[in-house]
């Protein structure tokens, strides 16, 4: 943990936690450097660039080259954070990520904003619904998806300390500071935000806010739900998720990502192997997005607390009696 231990209390863009942590990391470790691809302030790396201009490598609009350069820099002992929008790092530069970072086991941190839907009016071209899937299938890649700015801060610190490739997925928009997230942060741990017995809701990123709201609504209706913040998609905290599934007998996953290949698939793969249980998936169905205000898009594409509540009831109905 860094000395400042910065804590936000009000709703804050998740990416802010990343940007602040990076500046503090740089003060403690001269090997921490950052690369950008013409989106410096969008990913909140401008605070770093202003304070450490000699350690900020502006690569221009060249995401693949940025990833390759980051891999090369890591081979001189640097700890590079390569930053851009998620869609560019994970789709456009996927070959460079696969070969030069993952296969090389290079100590590169791919830190992206605008993961998911909340890039909003920019539309489908810039919305990344498949980024978790693309990153988690790469051997050795750690996949982190913090739920709020405090977790983003902590995840950034943890990513720097981890030796090896890390994908750090940050939403663009503000999310509420979720109570229960302040209990430190460890790669590979998920955090229990509520403990219930009827249904387990496993959520990641901005999905955590929806899950927390759904839990409250379910409680009002007499249903007790466990809420798990799965801030590390890979490596997965299998035991915590299994315990919750065993205690509740039904599971819902919630993510600002396609239902194909993301958290839902990850949890389903685990349960199919070790504890088959009904699972319902809240996420973007097999479709591209569109322009609109983030809240409008979330509603249109079924990412609301209400959708989580419905999914919880469906999952409970499917329990073996």
């Amino acid at each position: 943990m860094l000395s400042s231990g910065l804590r936000y209390t009000d709703a804050t863009p998740v990416r802010d936690g990343f940007g602040r942590a990076l500046v503090e990391l740089a003060a403690e470790d001269s090997n921490v450097i950052a690369l950008g691809a013409d989106l410096t302030s969008s990913i909140r790396v401008h605070w770093f660039a202003e304070k450490y201009p000699e350690r900020y490598i502006q690569m221009g609009i060249s995401e693949s080259d940025m990833i390759g350069a980051a891999a090369g820099l890591s081979m001189n002992g640097f700890v590079p954070f390569a930053t851009t929008f998620s869609v560019f790092a994970t789709s456009l530069a996927h070959q460079a990520v696969r070969l030069s970072v993952a296969y090389n086991n290079a100590n590169v941190k791919i830190a992206v904003s605008h993961g998911g839907i909340t890039v909003g009016p920019d539309g489908a071209t810039h919305q990344a619904f498949e980024d978790i899937a693309l990153m988690r299938c790469l051997p050795g890649m750690v996949v982190l998806c913090p739920a709020d700015a405090n977790q983003a801060y902590d995840a950034t610190v943890a990513a720097a300390a981890h030796r090896g490739p890390v994908f750090l997925r940050l939403a663009r928009g503000e999310t509420a500071i979720t109570p229960g997230n302040e209990a430190g942060f460890a790669i590979g741990r998920c955090y229990t935000l509520a403990k219930g017995s009827d249904v387990a809701i496993a959520a990641t990123g901005s999905g955590v806010e929806l899950a927390v709201a759904a839990e409250s609504e379910l409680r009002t209706g007499g249903i007790s739900a466990t809420v798990l913040n799965v801030s590390t998609i890979k490596p997965l905290d299998e035991e915590t998720i299994l315990r919750a599934a065993q205690a509740c007998g039904a599971v819902v996953t919630v993510e600002e990502h396609s239902v194909i290949g993301g958290l839902g698939s990850t949890v389903a793969e685990l349960l199919a192997r070790r504890f088959p249980a009904p699972v319902e998936f809240v996420g973007v169905q097999d479709t591209f997005g569109e322009s609109g205000e983030p809240r409008e898009i979330m509603e249109k594409y079924g990412l609301t607390p209400h959708a989580v509540v419905d999914a919880a009831r469906r999952a409970m109905d499917r329990k073996c009696r």
């Binding site: 080259d65 090369g72 070959q95 030069s100 090389n104």
Partner: protein, 282 residues
């Protein structure tokens, strides 16, 4: 420092690299002989004369660094490494075999003490090489990063992203060597998608460009010597090479990009190459 080199010894080393390439590919039953044989003098001059490494066992320790970006021609690289004490000669017989350090394309995962970055998907190695050069600049490290690419590789867009980056950052500790043999898998590069003339393209990207006969050992040594003295620009050495040089029935023929000769053809090729003075086959 390089002028006192006996170029005939380097020529014999290049001859042995060609013999090794033929024999490695035949032993493996598959591989990429043509480009590797065409770059034999590049490997021989780099490993026999130019590169300064602090350690025989860990070439990534510097001061010079090497990246083979067109990873498919790795048979020639592995041979040069074995001829300069970086790996046992007999290990060449494991190329492309299960569990081998000498993978079909260079693998940092399997051979981290020598392979700086895995390569094969074209353009990627050059990008990482420029990143290594940038890192050396930031650390004020001495030494130069040398990177070989093929001419067909220049069709990859990433090459030009990196060419811009290296010039913008004035990476004068980066030397790119283009093995310009005008052959790619599907045919002559000039017919598939023309990349020539190469030199003016890099000049216009603000690189310092040297053009050299890629089989002329003294000329190559001179080019590398000059490359080290260039300041404030990355250096591109356009090396005119002949694919499968040394075996007339294979030269220039795209078939030999990635085809394994039959044992009879291999025998004929080795006869045409002749024995290398001072070296023995692995």
């Amino acid at each position: 420092m390089s002028t006192a080199v006996d170029s005939s010894a380097i020529n014999e080393m290049a001859r042995q690299i060609r013999r090794d390439c033929i024999r490695m590919v035949v032993t493996a039953g598959s591989g990429h002989p043509g480009g590797a044989m065409g770059a034999a003098e590049l490997f021989a001059v780099l490993y026999g004369v130019v590169l300064h490494h602090r350690s025989k066992t860990d070439t990534t320790a510097g001061p010079d660094r090497f990246v083979l970006s067109n990873g498919h021609i790795c048979a020639g690289w592995y041979s040069a490494l074995s001829l300069t004490g970086h790996l046992p000669r007999e290990e060449l017989g494991t190329h492309r075999k299960l569990g081998a350090r000498l993978q079909g394309h260079p693998s940092r995962h399997m051979f981290p003490s020598v392979v700086e970055t895995s390569s094969g998907p074209l353009g990627q190695g050059f990008s990482v090489a420029a990143g290594i050069a940038l890192g050396k600049k930031l650390r004020r490290d001495e030494g130069t990063v040398f990177c070989i690419v093929g001419d067909g590789e220049l069709q990859e867009g990433l090459v030009w992203e990196t060419a811009l980056s290296a010039a913008h950052r004035q990476l004068d500790n980066l030397v790119l060597i283009i093995s310009d043999n005008d052959v790619q898998i599907d045919g002559p590069t000039s017919e598939i998608k023309r990349v020539r003339p190469v030199a003016p393209k890099f000049e216009s990207f603000d690189w310092h460009v040297l053009t050299v006969d890629g089989h002329d050992v003294p000329a190559l040594i001179d080019a590398f010597d000059r490359a080290r003295t260039v300041r404030e620009k990355p250096v591109c050495i356009v090396a005119d090479t002949v694919m499968a040089k040394g075996v007339p029935f294979m030269e220039h023929d795209p078939k030999w990009h990635g085809t394994c000769p039959t044992p009879e053809m291999a025998e004929r090729a080795l006869e045409e190459l002749g024995p290398a003075d001072g070296w023995e086959d692995f």
